[in-house]
């Protein structure tokens, strides 16, 4: 369920490292808790983000959930397709439905995030 090449946060985001770029999304668990996702609010490319700070939000019909950045840096690209097809977040949260690409200013931050096994344990415990 949770790919080994990703790192995870307690707020249910994941990040995949591609050189100095971190690709960020929300986890399967997060989308499952929210239910049918109807809207995704993302920052503009160029925006500065900080680890642990909210950079956007994901909405279902009756709930809004902030998305917190797993890493610090600058947003270089956002996933435009989510604007018209937010349902992709329910279908493929760890793949096609990534949210933003961030040029990391402190790549070491990754080390503080959970591995897939640790995350699995964490949500097991949370439930």
């Amino acid at each position: 369920m949770y790919p080994d090449n990703l790192r995870y946060t307690k707020e249910h985001e994941w990040v995949e490292v591609e050189g100095d770029i971190g690709k960020v999304g929300i986890t399967h668990h997060a989308q499952d808790q929210l239910g049918d996702i109807v809207y995704v609010d993302l920052p503009k490319p160029g925006a500065r983000v900080e680890r642990g700070r909210s950079f956007g939000s994901v909405e279902s019909v009756k709930a809004v959930s902030d998305v917190f950045s797993p890493v610090s840096g600058e947003v270089v690209e956002i996933n435009e397709t989510l604007g018209t097809a937010p349902e992709k977040l329910n279908q493929d949260p760890h793949g096609d439905a990534w949210l933003v690409r961030i040029r990391m200013s402190a790549p070491d931050e990754i080390k503080q995030l959970m591995t897939a096994a640790q995350y699995q344990n964490y949500i097991g415990a949370e439930i």
Binding site: D36, V38, Y39, E59, V61, P86, E87
Partner: protein
Amino acid sequence: MISKVRSHVTQNEPLLFELSSPGKKAYQLPELDVPPVDASKALGAEHVRREVEGFPEVSEVEAIRHFTRLSTWNYAIDLGLYPLGSCTMKYNPRLNEAVARIEGLAWAHPYQPESLSQGAMEIMSALESALIEITGMDAVTLQPAAGAHGELTGILLVRAYLESLGNPRKKILIPDSAHGTNPATAAIAGYAVENIKSNDRGMIDLELLARVVDEDVAALMITNPNTLGVFEEQIARIAEIVHSKGAQVYMDGANMNALVGITRPGDFGMDVMHLNLHKTFSTPHGGGGPGSGPVAVKKHLEPFLPLPRLTAGHAGLRFDYDRPRAIGRVKAFYGNFGVIVRALAYIMAHGGEGLRNATMDAVLNANYIRKKLEGYYELPHRAPSMHECVFSDARQAKQGVKTMDIAKRLIDYGFHPYTVSFPLIVHGALMIEPTETESKRELDLFVAALIAIAKEVEEDPEIVLKAPYGTRTGRVDEVTAARKPVLRWKPAD
């Protein structure tokens, strides 16, 4: 067995725009008794539109049938119990509608001379006095247009008062059981919000409160009875704790129907509160408005009340605009006067004793429902109920049935659902407020319906999960509505 309703045929009806055909009309204007004016010449051709594109054209019969057919697709208090918790859906007396339509009131212009407005001003003054007596506060403004608007007014009063003492402070404390409006209001008034957790009885935790109240706190916003329908028994102590640090207590009066004639916020330490005339004082909800949200305050907040203030002068009542400490206006003119008229008529019909009896009957009805249903639905908090009771779907959830499913099934039994999934501190809440205007017969039908549904959940949960069956409209796809918003009609391409 569903005994309250059986299904009947309803009419289909297109939208006005689909009904429309060129040249049809439902109006007749008198012949013009002055020379016509060429709009292009008078206003400039660039300012004149060709037509209002897409506007409907229907006959009078088509118009009346259109709206009458649509009306039959609604549920309403006039059709039966409407037990929405925290909404106080009581009967709307028709006398109130009649008096609000008397020409001298309905057609009074807000700028007509004060000497020719004394009747309207007297009505406002009479309602202010009655609300002061009912709340035990010292002064009332009728200007706010609704409950949330009253909240905003109240918090602005707190802010102006604290500012006058030298420091507006930074944050507002709000219990986790509060209505969502409270934090939204605090934010709009420029305050940070700090949520405080309720204790296991659903009440404010005094020790926690004492720890978090400090010189940065401007106010505590409290709902009493709270959203569990429970009276905060330590309310006087709560007020003391908040006051000891120089902060104010704001009371959300949404649940005032549990208190009128029994106890008064002014007597238990509240500094400022709003009332919902469309809840406690029976003015119609009208499918979502209009409301009216008067704000009552203690003396120390009175100088800050919005402009203008109704005062007695030597030539009768007048509006005082010369109040330098006032927060300003929160609305043009003086308030939702038409709603004010209705609320005063309600108070006059009841009198002091009648209002108290209404409160007692409201509490009786809620407790009757609670007693009759506690064997079938989980009662997460056992403190005594006032005007509403809150169950949870814990027992039914084991069969995969949630509070929303039970609500939808209730529709098949001929009732509007209770408030679903609120307060947030109760998982899967069923929040039921019957009000005093329901007879035992209607309450028994309602109780029987909820018991029958509980049994259905035990025997065949599928029945409940797919409800409603008897409505002309099935469950509505809210997800598609939000993903691809269609917010206006457009002609087919």
